[in-house]
């Protein structure tokens, strides 16, 4: 595990280099270890196979050799991250990957969905190392296979498009999407307009979770700070859920 098999130079802005590994446990965990041992900002850790992928709150993210799993480690030059980064990276990925699958949408905050099925997700973590704020941004996408192992029904690019895709090409596309997400967060963007156009969760029944509470609501909009404008039995409120689930028909 952890043996680097190849190395690709990338750009000079956000992503600078890609390390290719045969097998890793969790790319995010590996990323944390790497940055603590002096890893370079802008390094992407791509696992050809990820054995112990993680989702939110330690949930398993199951993947196989048909999946694309990578993490970017990035040092934030400022003490505070752009507040919308976690949202804009999801939007950036969707905007890039829509070139392959036009019906791709984003579920708040940053899951990728096609129709009523999940294609992939992002797990972002922040860590302080030697007084610097670092971001570990993990991405998991089903490319040529559809491992079924969690609550949401899943799909893959292959299932949605009918063709097999080279993972290196999808990685290239995904990294362009990640960089677009950083750019959108940095220069500011109209989240409401982007989610109205590319979201799959507005104006439909949702199960909303925050802490120990859970209730049914409809989201009318995404506010500039990323919160949802929810309509429920409680009335209309700006709300920051931990998670939303689409109530499928």
């Amino acid at each position: 595990m952890g043996e680097r098999v190849n190395y690709i130079q990338w750009g000079k802005e956000i992503v600078r280099q890609i390390e290719i590994h045969h097998t890793l446990g969790s790319t995010n965990e590996f990323g944390k270890t790497r940055l603590k041992s002096g890893g370079m900002s802008g390094t992407v850790l791509w696992a050809l196979e990820q054995k112990k992928g993680r989702g939110r709150r330690g949930r398993a993210w199951v993947s196989d050799q048909g999946s694309l799993t990578f993490s970017l480690i990035w040092r934030c030059p400022n003490p505070v991250l752009p507040s919308a980064l976690t949202l804009t990276v999801g939007l950036g990925l969707v905007l890039e990957l829509q070139q392959l699958v036009p019906e791709l949408k984003v579920k708040w905050p940053n899951d990728l969905w096609i129709g009523e099925k999940k294609l992939g997700g992002i797990l972002t973590e922040t860590v302080r190392q030697a007084g610097q704020l670092w971001v570990i941004l993990g991405v998991g996408l089903n490319v040529n296979s559809t491992p079924q192992a969690e609550v949401s029904p899943r799909t893959s690019l292959q299932e949605a498009s009918g063709c097999l895709w080279p993972r290196l090409g999808i990685l290239h596309c995904a990294l362009k999407g990640v960089e677009l997400g950083f750019e959108l967060a940095d220069r500011g963007c109209n989240l409401s307009a982007l989610f109205r156009r590319h979201g799959n969760f507005l104006h439909r029944p949702l199960q909303v979770f925050r802490g120990q509470e859970s209730f049914v609501a409809r989201a009318r909009d995404v506010l500039p700070d990323g919160r949802l404008l929810l309509e429920s039995a409680r009335g209309l409120q700006a709300f920051l859920p931990d998670e939303i689930q689409l109530l499928l028909s």
Binding site: R54, R56, R57, G58, R59, C76, P79, V80, L81, S83, A84, L85, T86, L87, P109, N110, I122, L123, T124, E125, T126, V127, R128, L133, V135, R210, G211, Q212, D225, G226, R227, L240, D242, E243
Partner: protein, 145 residues
Amino acid sequence: MEFKDIKELILLVNATEITDFEMEAGDLRICIRKGQGDTAPIQVSPQDPALAFSDVGPASKGSLGLEAVVAPMVGTFYRAPAQDAPPFVEEGDVVAPGQVLFIIEAMKMMNEIEAEFGGVVEKILVANGEPVEYGQPLMLVRRQG
């Protein structure tokens, strides 16, 4: 005065416009100062870590010497990295500078919050999985060293 009373006091002061509060009861003196506004927008990453600590006890000899670790952002408080994992710290634990104390999640970003100084975790004020507001006291740590 018990820790639950101190917790209530902190929450009470935090919920008001009061920025500076002092009281004495016998040989106990408590001083609470709110240095930051509590109406900050959502931040999905920690503010300057120095702001994550609010002095609730003068460091002078004979005082309580407790410092409150406050939420540097709006989000959900987690004591462990995963649902089935043990907590980062328990009450009574000695923590070193840089040690992770808890996570605050906001918009699926998991922010590890570390101890800025060494000390003993005297009290954890918020339950695992609870929503927290910016500036809310989350832990009381007795500074050591």
